[in-house]
């Protein structure tokens, strides 16, 4: 069982008290516990069961404008005594930084809505096994599927965030995650693909049979891929890849990248960085949302932000430290975004495929090819050639490249947004990118 609020609160207040006694002028502490149970299947048989019980504590102490932090997984008092003493000692020896401070009191969250993030249901390993049997049987129906691996995980977490400005809050969250990875083979090639579902509530999880079938279908259609020539071509990003482009945008508008001057979007607030039709929202209060929360990891309240409005950048993602440096107030985005998404575009998925006589539909990218300093983008890609709205044949061993500054101005979005992850995008088309192949 995951530890209750009382246990976590007791540890948190012990740490704040001790830090004060040892000379810290301010301090903050996060105590968390997470218990997860996972069952993995492979080729219709039990492969692995895994139970983890993780405790963690992290403490930041301030002496005036000096700051240091420690973290540990050992919550025994004698260990905490040694660590907090070390933390305060290190704080004394760390140079001052005028922007170091806890959040302003008036920015701390006071209203705590029930966002429906915790499902008390406990699913026994035998039930997980039943789900995975059904999943793998659907996934291995076709003879071309030569290997299936699937997983079912239940996670229950609880945390407390407390600081010396009187903030003390936390809550339980749960997640149920199922995934299926399949390998298909024909005479010419071997390919792998996957499908995945993660929800706060067990009853919302995708049907096992559908999930397995989807993974298998997505794998089989990749068999016998071709390599195409190098050319400039319209690229359509599947939703699971399009969300990654939105994540890159989010790191480029984080206040730390902006204040350090290491983002291609520095000084771009109030400027048009996307095409006219694009709106980007970060909405923390979606019920059962995978990124939902009442406050950020500093305790600052989080409101919905319309980050991009008709193509124009409206906000950075601001935390306390970098906010003070930029002379801006924290908007509760320490630790990043909540439920981040592009609003739906105006065209259907089908019309988007049909909009060009020839385009590339990308289902997977590999490599770490996003540079937020320059905006340059270059990654390996796998996908399909689309001609007149039809998937013609699979493609691999190509790269796609461009610069985000241009790519953002050339985005067309479909109207098929769904909330499958914490960051979500409808299917996305970008014109003017370069494919390198043969």
């Amino acid at each position: 069982m995951v530890k209750d609020q009382e246990f976590l609160k007791k540890k948190a207040s012990y740490c704040l008290g001790l830090a004060k006694k040892l000379g810290a002028t301010e301090s903050s502490v996060i105590v968390n516990n997470s218990v997860s149970e996972t069952v993995n299947f492979r080729n219709k048989k039990l492969d692995e069961s895994n139970r983890s019980d993780d405790l963690g504590i992290s403490i930041t102490t301030y002496i005036g404008k000096k700051k240091s932090s420690i973290s540990s997984s050992n919550l025994q008092d004698d260990n905490l005594n040694i660590l907090i003493e070390k933390c305060v000692e290190t704080t004394k020896n760390t140079p001052e930084d005028e922007f170091n401070s806890l959040p302003d009191k008036d920015l701390l969250a006071k209203d705590f809505k029930d966002l429906n993030l915790y499902d008390d249901t406990h699913i026994e390993n035998d039930q997980k096994i039943d789900y995975l049997k059904k999943l793998e049987s659907a996934a291995s129906n076709d003879k071309k599927i030569i290997n299936t691996e699937s997983s079912f995980a239940q996670n229950k977490s609880n945390f407390i965030l407390a600081n010396t400005k009187g903030f003390c809050a936390g809550y339980k969250t749960s997640s149920f995650t199922a995934s299926s990875i399949t390998v298909a083979k024909d005479e010419k090639s071997m390919e792998r693909d996957y499908e995945y579902s993660s929800k706060c509530f067990l009853k919302d999880l995708d049907d096992a049979g559908e999930l397995g079938k989807k993974a298998a279908d997505q794998t089989i259609r990749k068999l016998s891929p071709k390599k195409i020539g190098s050319e400039k071509i319209a690229i359509i990003f599947d939703k699971r890849i399009a969300k990654g482009i939105l994540s890159t945008f989010a790191s480029a508008i984080s206040s730390s990248a902006i204040s350090r001057g290491t983002s291609f979007l520095k000084d771009k607030v109030k400027q048009k960085i996307f095409s006219d039709t694009i709106n980007v929202l970060d909405k923390p209060d979606i019920l059962k949302g995978l990124g939902s929360r009442n406050f950020d990891i500093e305790g600052v309240k989080t409101d919905t932000l319309k980050l991009v409005e008709q193509g124009v950048l409206r906000h950075y993602l601001i935390d306390t430290y970098n906010g003070k440096k930029l002379n801006l107030k924290s908007n509760g985005r320490c630790g990043g975004t909540s439920n981040l998404y592009f609003e739906n575009g105006n065209v259907s998925f089908k019309d988007l495929l049909n909009s060009k006589s020839k385009s590339l539909y990308i289902t997977e990218t590999i490599g770490h090819g996003s540079n937020i300093v320059t905006g340059d983008y270059s990654v390996g890609a796998t996908g399909f050639l689309v001609e007149n709205g039809e998937f013609k044949y699979p493609i691999n061993e190509i790269t796609i490249a461009g610069n985000f500054k241009d790519m953002f101005q050339n985005i067309t979005l479909a109207n098929d947004l769904e909330f499958k992850y914490a960051t979500n995008s409808p299917t996305m088309m970008i014109e003017g990118m370069v494919v390198a192949g043969k």
């Binding site: 492979r42 048989k45 039990l46 492969d47 692995e48 069961s49 895994n50 139970r51 983890s52 019980d53 993780d54 405790l55 240091s68 932090s69 420690i70 973290s71 540990s72 997984s73 050992n74 919550l75 260990n79 933390c87 290190t90 020896n93 760390t94 140079p95 390993n125 030569i146 290997n147 390998v183 071997m190 792998r192 891929p225 020539g229 190098s230 350090r260 001057g261 290491t262 291609f264 590999i366 490599g367 770490h368 090819g369 300093v373 320059t374 340059d376 270059s378 990654v379 390996g380 796998t382 061993e397 190509i398 790269t399 796609i400 490249a401 461009g402 370069v434 494919v435 390198a436 192949g437």
Partner: protein, 470 residues
Amino acid sequence: MSNFFEKSDLSRSEAENIISDTLQKCDDGELYLENSKSESILLDDNKIKNSSYNSDLGFGFRAISDEVVAYSHSNEISKNSLKQSSENLKSTLKSVKGTYNHEIPKSNKKYYDNINPIEQKSLNEKIKILNEVNNYLRSKDNNIKQVTANFLGEQKSVEIIRSGGETLTDVRPLIRFNVSVMLEKNGRKETGVYGVGGRQSYDSYLKDDNWKSVCDEALRIASVNLESKPAPAGEMKVVLGPGWPAILIHEAVGHGLEGDFNRKKTSAFHNLMGQKVASEGVTIIDDGTIDNRRGSLTIDDEGTPTEKTVLIENGILKNFMQDRLNARLMKTKSTGSGRRENYRHIVLPRMRNTMMLSGDQTQDEMIKAVDKGIFAVSFGGGQVDITSGKFVFNCTEAYEIVNGKIGSPIKGATLIGDGPSILKEVSMVGNDMMMDPGIGTCGKAGQGVPVGVAQPSILINKMTVGGTKL
């Protein structure tokens, strides 16, 4: 060395009894205990941004029957906690049979000293060096707009207790020093990153103002990139420099030669044992036994002493890298490649220091042999799709080659190739093998472990360069 039972209500002999009771009739398994201490000190934007310390303690209890692995971990080393883990393992492995008598070979060799690098240098000394780094770089070039430098230090103590009470221990130091600079000139920004590290004290890497050469290298890379032009797009010849570019070897063939993917037949290499997978003259080894290297280990995380494993010898595929589980199921022996990020994770067969050995040609000969292509000197990172065999890596310093001569620097681009065929495209192997500077971390199944790579300069006949210039 940590005494894991000192402050616990659980005594060593009680733990041994629970382990033996849980693992009786299992094919394999162990209790893995870990105590790690780590620090991070970061200078950024002219200030000490972060000084943090982490202490992590926990155990992972594993039981294996045939192919099925049951695993349970916790932070609390106590009677209750270990018993609960034991119950979890027993309930997964309801019908177990047989025992696995794969004895752990004995070795007295150690590849690093029992030190705690964190304690060997005071906080004030570390802060002083970081400030010197900042001042040194900013006074060197007016175009420097950002300097980030950091120290990462760690000491990890591990203990492995097997059924019957056999106990193996290791204390592993690890440090890393990193410098990143950003230049801005005429509105254009570019970065350069360089670092050093390994399993010795900070001073072994920083003495005699050696930190200055790390700074110089980061600045040099950034300066080169400031002059870079768009990279070409399409298939062409590629010359790779020695050292760190060996992450090509790591991605293109290394992962595909890990035991688990081959037992499961999901690796593009699984049916190629004994066959020619590379050009003649190409020999690749994975070596855990080089003194003080980042990827070296005295014993792996199952207690097996590491070794020098020949993967490809003169073009022929010779061995996979194995942990105990995959070795047993593939009827071979562990190569001491069983690793985990920490006690929270199960063991997987992983790389250590993966190296392509020297041939007899020179880099000059390679450059001269290229009419149109690129010369890649430094890389960011890479990734591979094990099943299709396609892999990428990202250049952070590269030049065009025109008519046998090195030309202008080109912008960072991704290179993509096919793992099982790329080594057959290697047409020249240099005589200049070099280790990387000690900065690599390999990710697999969500677990990061420190690794090393090495290679000489090589010429590859054909790779796709992912630039924007058609």
